[in-house]
Symmetry: C2
Subunit: 468 residues, 2 copies
Amino acid sequence: MDVIILSPLENVIIEKLAEIVGEQFISTDDADLVSYSSDFMIDVFLKPDVVILPENTPQIAAIVKLANENSIAITPRGAGTATHGGSIAQGGILLDLTRMNKIKELDPISMIATVEPGVVYEDLNRITGKSGLWFPIEPPSGAVCTAGGMVGNNASGLMALKYGTTKDYVLALEVVLADGSIIKTGKSVLKSSSGYDLVHLFVGSEGTLGIITEITLRLIPKPMHLSTAFASFPSLNGLNDAMNAIYEIRRVLTPAGIELIDLQTQKAINEVEKEKLVPEVEILVIFEIHEFSAAGLEDQKDLIEGVARKHNCNEIHWAKDDEERDRMWKARKAATVVSVRSRTSTLLGDLIVPIKHVPAIIRFIQEVAREKDLLISIVGHAADGNIHYLIPFNQNESKKAFDAGDAIVYKTIELGGSITAEHGVGLEKIKYMELEHGESLSLMRAIKKILDPKGIMNPGKIFPAEKQ
Amino acid sequence: MDVIILSPLENVIIEKLAEIVGEQFISTDDADLVSYSSDFMIDVFLKPDVVILPENTPQIAAIVKLANENSIAITPRGAGTATHGGSIAQGGILLDLTRMNKIKELDPISMIATVEPGVVYEDLNRITGKSGLWFPIEPPSGAVCTAGGMVGNNASGLMALKYGTTKDYVLALEVVLADGSIIKTGKSVLKSSSGYDLVHLFVGSEGTLGIITEITLRLIPKPMHLSTAFASFPSLNGLNDAMNAIYEIRRVLTPAGIELIDLQTQKAINEVEKEKLVPEVEILVIFEIHEFSAAGLEDQKDLIEGVARKHNCNEIHWAKDDEERDRMWKARKAATVVSVRSRTSTLLGDLIVPIKHVPAIIRFIQEVAREKDLLISIVGHAADGNIHYLIPFNQNESKKAFDAGDAIVYKTIELGGSITAEHGVGLEKIKYMELEHGESLSLMRAIKKILDPKGIMNPGKIFPAEKQ
């Protein structure tokens, strides 16, 4: 890990920061610093020197200017729900953006919202929902995660198949650059061919290019009719059956989401939740469909059911009502946490492959699990190729768990895939960046250097240390 | 216009270029140079020193390396259907990419195609269509325009409302950088959070950052059922009626496309085509809907018809068959050329505003036309806010036509809009770039300088000359 370590901040700096935001919104108390020392990444704890909670863009501009003049690291953070260490800081300033949670404008005619980075995903959708509008990402952490964090990591969620990822909704940004200057880029319009796309350069840059202080999002109509099904593929060849069904369905129809849960994960869900939330079969697939009309929805159901049965699905059960639908999604959302309980730590993977290689990568993960005698759960957005795997382990299994993770990532790259589909690089995946990007990594570094010549913006993230 | 003028090329350079591609694929004949001296932008003719037609990436890398070593401008070009001067060159090398028209891979399971930049849009869709797959941009120039040009300009078309623009389909690129090095960026996967999004930095960069030599595109299923309608809004308040209907429809449903044609344009279409292709009413709206099922399609029709009639639409006519549907779209596609015939030149606009401001900008354009005694036709993708206006003029009307264009662009910016939604900046819109982007333009320049320190890549495009 190549985090730039900056010396503890002098008191005069702390005093100047306090002047900017007010005494009550800054802390150097160890108890506070500890509460910012981790995210959902395992086994990494890094403490900043100071935590500060700004209220508006001018405050942030003043903080960044001061940091830049004094070469102090500055790390932005939303809800801290990331899984890769992107929002924790070894020394320097931790910028907690959760006070900046205003919806600055909601234009229901243009179907556009402009928000501060600290607004919580579900809070935003509660407000836009009153106008029938939706920011359709649905990250499993939606009840707490913030718009800024979603933009910083290009987050996605359970409905990415139909609706895409955060980047597909960001029209414009206000950003405080490393020198404290404030730029606006993009417009509240749905298309543009006007110069370079700086908006998408900042999306997914994990706070390493600037502090995003305002986000303009396009919204879409909430679906009028929706339905969710559990489809069971019981044969030992259930993985191939399920994926063949998914391939055939995708060629004619784009469901909102298609999730795949392996037997290992199904058992863990039922055990931990203490009720039989999911059937236990070789492969369980969740289909979610959204339609404008009830008749259209029924036709989608018929198609999915016909294709699934052709591929040896022995049961497909559509939720009877919203309550049952919610229970189905509760099960899926539980999948990413249940496995943790059986061991002290869990390594969480976020790979993506071309979808034709989904069976190959899943089978490879299963082989690695057998070889290394690990229990690896697999759950994922099967239809877009994004597979999550969870490797729970005890302290004495640490090396073999990380070796397994490495082997899976190398296989992913070999299959033409990417090391992270929606979680981000942060600290955790730095070691794979050269392998994935080759020469393009130098270009990313060069862009970083223009925007942040002193390297104060979330240092130690994304990029491996440069060879001397 | 601030095109960098480079001295005529020495014979030794021409000889070296000929060695790279072969004698038959290079020309300095004036007749050939003239045929590359314009695109669909009015009144601008610029001749390159040499035209060269490479066959593959290594040839391009060698050409670019030679150009960079000798500080020679290099301008890439596809079919030359752009409307802003982006693909014409004053001196230097004109790189005609139309020989590079292979589909290198079509993966129907992963629903991904990898193509060379010279492949023609409709040729690509003919091949992918055999697998039921579609690259759904539908630019009116689709019969001739190339994938490389579409990526370079982030082109869109008649179905952007539902399907987005070219950038939404580009997953990965191979690019020859200004020093002749070849990079690959992005992967054949549907999502990524792995480092900076360089793919979208190149999309829309109009050949100023590198030569795109390979494009990986995601494809989607072709729609199973589709229908097209003409909806007439006859009242003097037809513009407001039509837009209110569109706003209400968009809040519950996303049609594939919604087009708006003003009376001026309707008359020109019928006159030039010598048949009554379109009704003549205050405002004519075309609705195009795509659905998985026939029943779903009928429900969409009912909704659209009900809302349109509520807002004083007196006739909505759905095409009875494919032939009638084709005739409707023929009329729409004719709209952008018919006006040209009444005068010697036509200024073509490509503005976009937040959709709530569509009535305001259209009314402003009509006022400008009245004030300046010009016949301005308006046709556009009304539901995404992208309005095209055509100002035909004779030579003696040139100043007032350009003044009208400027006034319309200033109003667009005032309404929070952008100077170009889908055509690009090229030469034509350079004069508005500072106004639109402010401080962000410096950041674009800085990125340009990293990637192209000598300024050889399509010089004189996008950026205004720097103040000394």
